[in-house]
Symmetry: C2
Subunit: 201 residues, 2 copies
């Protein structure tokens, strides 16, 4: 593994754990067993290293969406695929992407180019899928992108709150079985609704 790759890997991990500002270049090189000069040499600045460490994951995520979008599956199947695929990607395969979500809360100025478009596109894909067969009332209130955003939100507590509620997942990927269970519940809820009765108690 090249020094460059070791740096990228360590950076992604550290940034996800402690955020951009909470991670120093020295923390990273220590973790990567590299030298300060290597960062200057390979990336120039800390921000470039950050951006590149995240940018690596952007392509695969876009591909995932495109593959699903173009598949022949039904709207419901597509919705399942995209939700499950996305959750698996973010919670199980690439937990370091948490750094991207942290960053987006601060405006995303340091994110790699294309991130904003990726997020918007991601929301649109989901919205479009859902629109193919939908409870029309929802669309009277919010547009395609917004609906996609909201649906993806079902997963975000697992990025946001899980580190607190189940500390063992703080810096560990969520197991596949767990992700599947979560998405099963989310899909059930999404498709069938909660059917809360009008009566209390």
């Amino acid at each position: 593994m090249s020094t460059r790759d070791k740096l990228l890997e360590a950076a992604a991990r550290m940034f996800a754990e402690h955020g951009y500002d909470g991670t120093s270049v020295r923390d990273i090189i220590k973790e990567a067993d590299a030298n300060l000069g290597a960062v200057t040499y390979h990336f120039g600045t800390k921000e470039a290293l950050f951006s590149e460490s995240l940018g690596q994951k952007l392509g695969p995520l876009l591909e995932l969406g495109k593959r699903i979008e173009e598949s022949q599956a039904s709207a419901m199947e597509k919705l399942d695929m995209v939700l499950r695929g996305y959750a698996m990607f973010v919670l199980h395969e690439n937990p370091n992407l948490k750094a991207m979500f942290m960053e987006s809360m601060q405006g995303g100025d340091r994110l790699p180019p294309g991130s904003v478009q990726m997020i918007q596109w991601r929301n649109k894909v989901i919205g479009d899928i859902v629109k193919q067969g939908i409870n029309e009332g929802v669309f009277r209130k919010c547009n395609t992108k917004e609906l996609g955003m909201m649906i993806l939100g079902l997963i975000s507590p697992y990025v946001q709150d899980l580190p607190i509620i189940k500390p063992k997942y703080r810096n560990t990927p969520v197991p596949k079985r767990e992700v599947n269970r979560i998405i099963d519940a989310a899909m059930d809820m999404l498709l069938n609704g909660l059917k809360v009765r009008g009566e209390g108690k």
Copy 2:
């Protein structure tokens, strides 16, 4: 307004904008038009200032939940109240609480005491309300707290992605009308489901 209060207010704003590590004590005192010594005098450390600036909001949020929990409304009405109330509190009235969510993604070690309990309790309240009249399938897959967590997730993209997608809301409260629109859609979706048809296209 006392120096102490000015510091708390400025701190909450800055921490929400740039996170804990991205905000220096000097940034805060500049914004509060105060002196470095004032921080040492009133709070001792940066972390204590951070914790207290968030802790202020914890009480009111807990009260909100308790009021709804104890009300006589039906389960559906309660669900609406808690979702709308929570969204209004976080997105409209106290957008600075974003700092708490940022922090929780990093494990929450610096959060004020009681934060973790608040989050868990918050999830349980929603889960319990929903449980009063519910699509049973969902509960076969996930427990009360988890369901509450997921439902609240519908809102979190508005904390997480909105700063990116609609930059005008980066450091501005989301207007009431907007929050209401969002919750209307979320409630519709939650109660009735998406009703996605089995057929693609």
